[in-house]
Symmetry: C2
Subunit: 356 residues, 2 copies
């Protein structure tokens, strides 16, 4: 049976100041309508029932997510005591699910991706589940539409016989330089690493045992404790023993049974504010604007007034401006993916850390 | 005896959103310390006593200015019922002063200029007064330090014998193109038109009679009415009869008895936000910042947080960003002198006019 684990622990740093630690981008309504987390839960509804849907997040965010998805059993929203990156979160979900169902297949997805149309996504997940049942760790590869330097890439090898769009994975590549990204785009065999995975609980735990034995030793016993009284304390103890490492580094780059399924749905990682360009319609001058904004002689800007103050841009080009009730960000669009640098610096200043 | 008329009716459009109609730039504290109006009054203190100092402003602004300069007699702060540009204001002041003192010499200055050092300014005014007593309309010409397109220029002709730095004026020129401004800078005989004038009340009223007879007919009788009960009503009636015209167009470009005195003091017209570059010290990267501002990888920016919100600029260059409790402006520095365009547009939008 299919289970789902939603990874919802992100701090949304790149979407500051709309996104804050206590109110990260996955839980806020970026344009209008439901938050990214709610959209993610809704997208999975027809694939996986609520009792088989799990959320792994930061402990401080768990109450917010439970309130946004009240249909999920309370204990299915798991709050990590500290962030240990995606490997720990993936193993935690798999351990809990494997304890309930030895044959479980798990869809791992992020809470801050935009995916459409839902029907095509569901069909793709079902196809991936078939591969997963054969023992593959399946990752979705997104056909790149531009030489993005914001994503990691999956380089695929031989096609897997009998499954259209499925390939062996040759290598995972980190975020490339612009030049390398252009080469990847031309070469056709490189795909964006979506962070969307499908695998059997047993397969990923086997891989953990082999490639991340400390993680496996610390985390796999938690499956049997889930739902019991001492769970949070055991979780805290286990997390103290493991390093921060992503699932890509810990497993995907090492395992041999990795398959890539070419995605035929639209996908966007809502990283920074430029993502608004992908989910909103621009005006005639290429500007995206939300709220009380006036744009004169300006083009290709993203301008958000997150309160009832007026935001006026005059003569601006390719600029991101976001104002909120307590903080305003101004940065050129081509720096928007590097916002982590700014946030680190604000964090280090005694008079600005409170704005994160 | 020397009198002073401070022209303080400006709306400060170019300094929006720090400057508002009801709170224009001459009355606000731009960086720290006294407002431009208070600085102007203080600068004149050792030249002209309060009872000989007059202020011409918009009626709605008169109470604010009286509060900022309580040492001035209440009736010396004259509120115009409608704006009629500088010619009407100059003639009004001259008519009132001439009625009191037939030999009066008047220093006309703007409320939004920065001038230093004060002692050198005072000496220059005394020198100009000497020329004025000989029947000249004296304007101060500022030696240009860059090819500014934001100022009008005075082209000087023959030196006036016996007074160092004094010249006949050949012509007044409007704000030039960049190319023309560069030519002016090279030619050495062009000076910035400061809008600082010294003349006898009688001389400027003679010029008004000759070159602006409608203004003269409407306004000169007001001198005798000043301080009496019906003054405001007479003023309103007179102003209904005159056109909007600047003193440059109405008189200076037409009169033959115009002299220019080369200024040997520092002068800046605080037009738009770039003026902050002239009155504040930049950081190592050329940025001017006021308030809670963080500038990362940014240079040559002017960033003002006019409340307790954080303003963060990341990767910006040569940008002006001003945030206030209800409005934020973002524009490249090279467009900052054109802010009137933006303000006109905001004025025309039903949902933004309230922010002016």
């Amino acid at each position: 049976m299919l289970y789902s684990v939603i990874m919802a622990g992100g701090t949304g740093t790149r979407f500051w100041p709309l996104s804050r630690r206590k109110n990260p981008k996955q839980v806020i309504s970026l344009a209008e309508g439901p938050s990214l987390f709610e959209r993610t839960v809704a997208r999975l509804k027809r694939l996986v029932p609520p009792e088989r849907t799990y959320v792994v997040t930061r402990a401080e965010l768990a109450p917010t997510l439970r309130a946004l998805a009240p249909q999920l059993p309370r204990e299915n929203v798991i709050g990590e005591p500290v962030g240990r990156d995606s490997a720990a979160a993936v193993f935690l979900g798999a351990s809990i699910i494997a304890h309930k169902d030895g044959q479980a297949v798990i869809l791992v997805s992020a809470a801050d991706h935009l995916i459409a149309p839902a029907a095509r996504f569901r069909a793709a997940v079902r196809k991936a589940s078939g591969l997963a049942r054969h023992g593959f760790l399946v990752t979705f590869g997104i056909p790149p539409t531009r030489p993005s330097t914001a994503y990691g890439y999956v380089e695929c090898g031989a096609a897997l016989p009998g499954v259209a769009g499925a390939f062996r994975v040759r290598r995972f590549h980190e975020k490339p330089s612009s030049r390398t990204a252009r080469r990847y785009l031309r070469a056709k065999r490189f795909f964006w690493n979506s962070g969307l995975f499908v695998w059997k609980a047993a397969t990923i735990l086997d891989a953990a045992r082999r490639f991340a034995p400390e993680h496996f030793a610390a985390i796999s016993p938690l499956g049997a404790l889930h739902g019991a009284a001492g769970f949070q304390a055991s979780l805290a103890a286990a997390y103290r023993k493991v390093n921060r490492i992503s699932i890509d580094y810990a497993i995907m780059e090492k395992a041999r049974n990795v398959a890539m399924l070419k995605a035929d749905f639209d996908w966007a990682d809502v990283g920074g504010p430029l993502a608004l360009r992908r989910c909103m319609k621009a005006d005639g001058a290429g500007n995206i604007h939300i709220g009380l904004v006036d744009l004169l002689d300006s083009r290709d800007c993203v301008a958000v007034s997150g309160d009832d103050r007026l935001l006026a841009l005059f003569g601006c080009e390719d600029l991101v401006v976001i104002q909120t009730p307590d903080a305003t960000l101004v940065c050129p669009a081509d720096r928007a993916e590097e916002l982590k640098k700014l946030v680190s610096r604000l964090d280090a200043r005694s008079d600005t850390a409170e704005f994160l």
